[in-house]
Amino acid sequence: MTGIIKTSSAASVKQSRRGAEESPLAKWALIAVALAFSLVFLLLPLVNVMAQAFVKGWACYWSSLTQPDSRAAIRLTLIVAAISVPLNVLFGLAAAWAIAKFEFRGKSLLVTLIDLPFSVSPVVVGLMFIVLFGLQGFFGKWLGAHGIKIIFAVPGIVLATIFITFPFVARELIPVMQATGTEQEQAALTLGASGWQTFWHVTLPSVKWGLIYGIILCNARAMGEFGAVSVVSGHIIGRTETMPLRVEALYQGATGASTVAAFCRGELAGAPGLVYAGDQDFPRMETGERISGSRSRIVDR
């Protein structure tokens, strides 16, 4: 008896699925259009970057990376990322803890303000720091009198990069922390754990993947930022040139496509794990998604 019921319900499910799906022709036509679009806008640029990098072979690639000016640019980029990423991680953890675990007035205003850097053009970000610290800026005279250089120097590059990458970790962590709730932390505290112990052993492991994804995005942007850094750097070869600026200088100097391309590949080194991590992470991210807005808000600008 039960067997008969099962069979008939299975059949009806199958039938109704058939009604709620496109015909194979429409389905494959949609797939074909999507693939054609992805070919032009995703696959070809990806393959082109790789192909350009190795067009003259490994030796050329290596030598273009080890020129003194290039080495200086790589060093500066790594320094800038090493300062800005940890600071933004610290901020992201603090902001996510306050926003996800507590209720307070003005919370939505705070979240909007955290998003603010996403809606500002990188060039305008650079301009803001020139207005503050440039020669004619608010603090320009004072800085000049004390011999401190921020604009056209490394501090300006660091500040601009921190501004640009400011929201990444926070926006990635907030939805994940909201999704995990507070019950586990409360249990840990009830059992006698200290606040820090609770954070390290309960909260951090549960948001691990969101944190890692945020760090990867933040780092990729920190190492790749062009507009804001270009405005405040002054392009002093060997001193204030980051890798993206070096790429531009090589391109304009027309020292050969392969040199430029080698740099392109070097640039990519900053974000090798992104595609992989994005793939790994996506199914789990959605839980957070439903709770607070869209994930794309979190991403690059």
Binding site: S38, L44, S121, P122, L127, S294, S296, R297
Partner: protein, 274 residues
């Protein structure tokens, strides 16, 4: 219910304090500086600096190309998200992972790569340029670059929404005799619309401010292929700070209007979800 449930956890003062301090130092003070300088301009000066012929041409290109790119992303991004969530085909997981590629690639490298693809002897340019379609150093190049950088926004906004759609409703529509197209128009499209609009606005907002990927592919010819952010850089290189600030204010105000629109859209969308 909120207050008592949350009050047991420690660290509220510390984390919120640090958050507000860091936010002020990194974002709010630089922002305020620019606003104060902008308010120092008289209205007549501002209007004069912000509406030169060259600036108007730059706005037209920036906003026009951003709009076209955002529309293209809304259409193809929706299609891509649909195909990725609904169908099984070889390479689906790879394609899904590749959607994040424009986020990962530094913008300057993206611009160089796209320019390389679309120049007369590039991989695509060698077929397209003889047909009269020139993607490098033209307004079309700007649209191409902006479509590339904006693509992930629509796809990544739509994917979770599509995954959460209840298939039973579509099946019910089919049982009641609706064709697939009618089901799409009457059942699926309305529930996707808020997310599509959000993704569209995000891609549009990003496109307005975009700089790095465009400067290499557009050629930056004044009145023809010069975007507004590039004009700001030009003003800065001439040490014309007030001119740069005036242009920056126009860009900022338009991004804020878009940000407000995004927030309204999200509220509207969440009303439907509840």
């Amino acid at each position: 219910m909120g207050h008592k449930r949350f009050s047991a956890l420690p660290g509220f003062g510390l984390t919120l304090g640090f958050t507000l301090f860091y936010l002020s130092v990194i974002v709010l003070i630089p922002f305020a500086g620019l606003i104060v300088r902008a308010l120092g301009l008289s209205w007549a000066d501002f209007w004069h600096l912000a509406t030169t012929d060259r600036a108007l041409a730059a706005y037209r290109l920036t906003f026009g190309a951003s709009l076209v790119a955002a529309v293209a992303n809304a259409v193809f991004g929706t299609l891509l998200a649909w195909v990725l969530t609904r169908y099984e085909f070889p390479g689906r997981r790879l394609l899904d992972a590749m959607v994040d590629f424009p986020f990962a690639l530094p913008t300057a490298v993206a611009g160089l790569t796209l320019a390389n693809l679309f120049t007369a002897n590039g991989w695509l340019g060698r077929y397209l340029v003889p047909l009269g379609i020139s993607g490098a150093f033209t307004p079309l190049g700007v649209v191409i670059a902006l479509t590339f950088v904006g693509l992930p926004f629509v796809v990544r906004t739509l994917q979770p929404v599509l995954q959460n759609l209840e298939r039973e409703v579509e099946e019910a529509a089919a049982t009641l005799g609706a064709g697939r197209l009618r089901t799409f128009a009457a059942i699926i499209a309305p529930s996707l619309l808020p997310a599509v609009l959000t993704g569209f606005a995000l891609a549009f907002a990003r496109a307005i401010g975009e700089y790095g990927s465009i400067v290499f592919i557009s050629g930056n010819l004044p009145f023809k292929t010069e975007i507004a952010p590039y004009l700001i850089v030009m003003r800065l290189e001439e040490y014309d700070y007030t001119g740069a600030i005036a242009l920056a204010v126009v860009l900022l105000v338009s991004s804020f209007l878009l940000l407000a629109a995004i927030n309204l859209l999200e509220q509207w969308a969440s009303r439907f979800q509840d």
